[in-house]
């Protein structure tokens, strides 16, 4: 099958199914699942066929030939495989979960277009193709975010589209500047051209090209859209948004840093401890992203916002690892990218399942769902173990590689940030666990049941993947080493069970056996020990006080308050506030201008017209 059809099929099917869906309920979700399954099958067959030739589709515009170029590399295979896999799982999940959702048809339409456009972005062989699909992706995801059920979804999507548009403008400007000089958009030609330019000029162009990717990846100065968009998007789209959309930004960063070998260009610029300054700044941004995301995640009372901030901080890890440009860093970044996609999708899906049953996202309104929704609970538990980086899950391995890379290069600040983020992630993922699943059951949730099987299925698959890659990281390393070869990076040694780091070897089989043993021991102790007694949530003893706000007395409310207090001043100076102040000042300036010129008096406008004519006449007279 031609590469072009991978992008083409979902988009066309989406439109057909959209009209079908008006007549037959659920047809769109089922059709989407079938199409994604087909694509998934086709793409998995493409593995190891890296010598497929470039594919060119030409069309004419204004008497000029414009080409869409598609190519397949191990890197793009990784991304299209992840995209269709996640798309398939989510499409299966939505069959049941969206039965009461009003904007169902448009959700599936945009979702299929989004999948197609992401495939296009990743398979693109030159910057023009990439940009076209990039824009389709931006718009379809914008519609998806704005179709969230909360009112705040519109504001969040607005913020998202504003940032994306700024990025797109910068990118297209840079591309036109480059095209004007070399008349081609190809990756290699652009890279060659950039390395020939004076260093300041090429760095400006590189930054203009990089900013849209960094915005999509949600890295520090542009992370403001992530929390709002993730928490307000439809519950089924949040997993995809966090699991894949952010990763597409990372794909762009990889493209610029390695694939288009800009690293060589940047080497000639100022270096800091053997690292080009651009890379170092990127790494610092990643590190700030980790800290910001972690601190803000701990403060949240809304479970989706919490996980959204956790996404920000995990993206920081990936950027940090990729930016330091060592073989180990690259491997760690890519490993964490895959693993983060798997466990973050699991977390969001399990939360979506909880929302599906309880219809709320406030943690203080839930509790004790462990016996009501055991599968969801297990999925969440395993995913957060992975997120916190505890063996024998995949999250541990990728974090371990990243730490190795950081310590090997001796970046103290970055390492400290990484450890801080790891401990912080431990704190914030524990909060939903203890408040949603543990604790006392709320009276109104007495009759809750486990979600339907179709919704459990994706969670089972993802749980299995977390454990599988936790035990056998060699499966991922195989592909990553192929990518490393493609990008001329020295591969990292590995076997099926183990990875060779800078200071030693990680053998996951041994660790896994140890953990299973330990777990069994703990389980036996747990079984044999006395059970704790369950009490009702509303049995709180208030000493005769009148409770006007029961929420505030829930133990989930301000769970880590002592910790938060340390960072209160930090959170108050959040970047969102700075952006908002900036926007308000611009509005004030505009108002000042408006009030003096646009007076609302028709006569003034008549006077402007006369003045304009006089100025025209004067201009004609002096010329």
């Amino acid at each position: 099958m031609s590469l072009f059809y991978y992008t083409f099929i979902p988009i066309v099917i989406a439109f057909i199914a959209y009209f079908l869906n008006k007549k037959i309920k659920l047809s769109l979700a089922i059709l989407n699942s079938v199409v994604f399954a087909y694509l998934f099958y086709q793409i998995s067959r493409l593995y190891n066929q890296w010598n497929i030739p470039h594919e060119t589709i030409s069309y004419y515009m204004f008497d000029r030939e414009i080409q869409l170029i598609f190519q397949l590399t191990p890197l793009s295979w990784l991304f299209i495989f992840m995209t269709t896999g996640a798309g398939l799982l989510i499409a299966i999940f939505t069959i049941k979960s969206q039965q009461e959702y009003v904007l169902r048809s448009s959700f599936h339409l945009n979702f299929a277009i989004l999948i197609g456009s992401i495939l296009g972005v990743v398979l693109a062989g030159d910057f023009l193709t990439l940009f076209i699909f990039w824009e389709i992706m931006t718009w379809s995801s914008f519609f998806l975010i704005s179709s969230g059920e909360k009112k705040a979804a519109q504001k969040a999507s607005y913020r998202y589209i504003i940032l994306s548009t700024i990025g797109a403008y910068l990118m297209v400007t840079a591309l036109f500047i480059i095209y004007n000089q070399i008349h081609t958009f190809g990756y290699n030609q652009v890279a060659a051209h950039l390395s020939g330019l004076p260093i300041t000029e090429s760095i400006i162009l590189i930054i203009m090209l990089a900013i849209p990717f960094i915005i999509k990846a949600g890295v520090f100065p542009f992370h403001v859209w992530v929390n709002g968009a993730h928490s307000n998007a439809p519950k089924e789209f949040s997993p995809f948004l966090s699991g894949l959309m952010l990763k597409v930004g990372i794909y762009g960063v990889i493209l610029l840093l390695y694939f288009v070998p800009l690293y060589n260009i940047l080497k000639e610029s100022v270096n800091y401890r053997g690292l080009p300054i651009f890379n170092y700044i990127l790494a610092i941004f990643g590190c700030i992203t980790v800290i910001t995301g972690t601190i803000l995640a701990i403060r949240q009372e809304d479970v989706k916002r919490l996980v959204a901030f956790s996404s920000i901080s995990q993206m920081g890890y990936i950027i940090m690892a990729l930016a330091i440009s060592t073989p180990l860093g690259f491997t760690g970044g890519l490993l964490h990218l895959m693993n983060h996609m798997i466990f973050k999708t699991t977390i969001f899906l399990s939360i979506a399942a909880v929302i599906y049953r309880t219809k709320t996202t406030k943690m203080s309104e839930m509790g004790g769902l462990i016996f009501k929704m055991p599968v969801t609970f297990t999925a969440y538990l395993i995913a957060i173990i992975a997120l916190a980086g505890i063996p024998p899950t995949n999250g541990f391995i990728s974090k371990w590689v990243i730490y190795q890379a950081l310590i090997d290069k001796g970046y103290i600040f970055l390492s400290v940030a990484a450890f801080f983020g790891s401990i912080g992630s431990f704190m914030y993922v524990f909060k939903p666990l203890s408040t949603i699943f543990l604790g006392q059951l709320k009276p109104e949730h007495e009759n809750i049941k486990e979600v339907p099987f179709l919704m459990q299925l994706p969670m089972f698959v993802l749980m299995a993947l977390i454990l599988l890659f936790g035990i056998l990281p060699g499966l991922q390393m195989n592909l990553i080493n192929q990518i490393s070869q493609l990008l001329n990076i020295q591969p990292v040694g590995f076997t099926l069970y183990s990875i060779t780091g800078a200071f030693g070897k990680w053998n996951s089989l041994v660790i896994f056996s140890l953990f299973v043993g330990g777990f069994l021991l703990a389980f036996i102790i747990f079984i044999s020990a006395k059970k704790s007694k369950q009490v009702g949530l509303m049995d709180t003893y208030t000493s005769g006080e009148y409770m006007d706000d029961p929420e505030a007395y829930h133990y989930a409310y301000q769970y880590f308050r002592p910790f938060d207090r340390v960072f209160d001043s930090f959170a108050a100076r959040s970047l969102t506030v700075i952006y908002d102040t900036f926007a308000q000042n611009i509005v004030k300036l505009g108002n000042l201008f408006r009030k003096s010129i646009v007076t609302g008096n028709g006569q003034t406008y008549a006077f402007y017209m006369v003045l304009f004519i006089v100025i025209l006449a004067f201009a004609g007279w002096i010329i």
Binding site: F607, V610, L611, I613, V614, A617, F618, W621
Partner: protein
């Protein structure tokens, strides 16, 4: 005199200077400029062809009561321009008039009709009785001006205005007087439709819109000028009705 007015005055004086200096431009070869007062160069203007009544430049003399079958046989050259040479302009102009009147009734449309259609407190005796004599005379004068529009000064616009004035006086004179809007509508529609259908018949008979298809006759006879008097009468009716409508609407507002 505040700052605002002084600024306006200065701007307007500047504008005046720029307009007036346009009259001082002496044209170079191939350029067009405004003529001096009284020095209009009619020989080289289109107007000469209209005066000669020969757009195709046969340049025969047009003689009072003798010349026959001139392309536009009306003695009043302005009329021949309005109703024949540039009749399409006039059609557009009538359309603007119609739109303005329609727009006015749309703006002032009042469901209740409760407000007085009159502005004086009580009927004036002199006006009321004077109008009885004056009204038919004014209608007659207006009709004369319209019908003799192709022979003497005057024409449909002037005559229409005179007729509208007659109705204005009638409306002013009496509280009870009400115009029958249906009749006005019928006249207006008939006039408009006949104007366009004359044009269309010209298209059918002679090959282009609003072309003369009747005999033009001898210049300065009452029955001369081909379609000019007919068109002028339709325009006259239309102008009279539209202006009457406008006044009626304004008074009923």
């Amino acid at each position: 005199m505040n700052f605002r007015k002084i600024l306006a005055l200065i701007t307007i004086i500047l504008l005046g200077i720029f307009i007036l200096q346009a009259f001082l431009i002496i044209p170079e070869k191939g350029e067009i400029a405004l003529n001096n007062f009284g020095k209009a160069d009619i020989e080289n203007r289109t107007a000469q062809l209209y005066i000669d009544k020969s757009v195709n430049s046969t340049n025969e003399q047009v003689i009072y009561k003798e010349s026959k079958d001139k392309e536009s046989g009306s003695a009043n050259i302005v009329t021949s321009i309005v109703a024949n040479y540039r009749a399409l302009d006039t059609l557009g102009e009538v359309t603007v008039l119609f739109l303005a009147a329609t727009g006015l009734s749309a703006i002032l449309y009042n469901k209740k009709h409760a407000k007085s259609n009159f502005i004086l407190k009580e009927d004036s005796f002199i006006l009321k009785n004077g109008i009885k004599i004056l009204f038919p005379l004014l209608i007659l004068a207006g009709s004369y001006i319209i019908i003799y529009g192709h022979l003497s000064p005057g024409g449909s616009f002037q005559g229409g205005a005179v007729i509208a004035t007659a109705f204005l006086l009638k409306l002013l004179s009496s509280k009870e007087y009400e115009l029958d809007e249906n009749i006005l509508k019928i006249i207006e529609v008939t006039a408009g439709v006949s104007f366009v259908s004359i044009g269309l018949y010209g298209l059918y008979a002679e090959g282009s819109f609003l072309t003369n298809f009747l005999e033009t006759g001898t210049i300065a006879n009452l029955f001369s000028g081909g379609i000019v008097p007919i068109i002028y009468i339709t325009i006259g009716l239309k102008v009279a009705v539209e202006l009457t409508n406008i006044i009626n609407d304004l008074m009923k507002a």
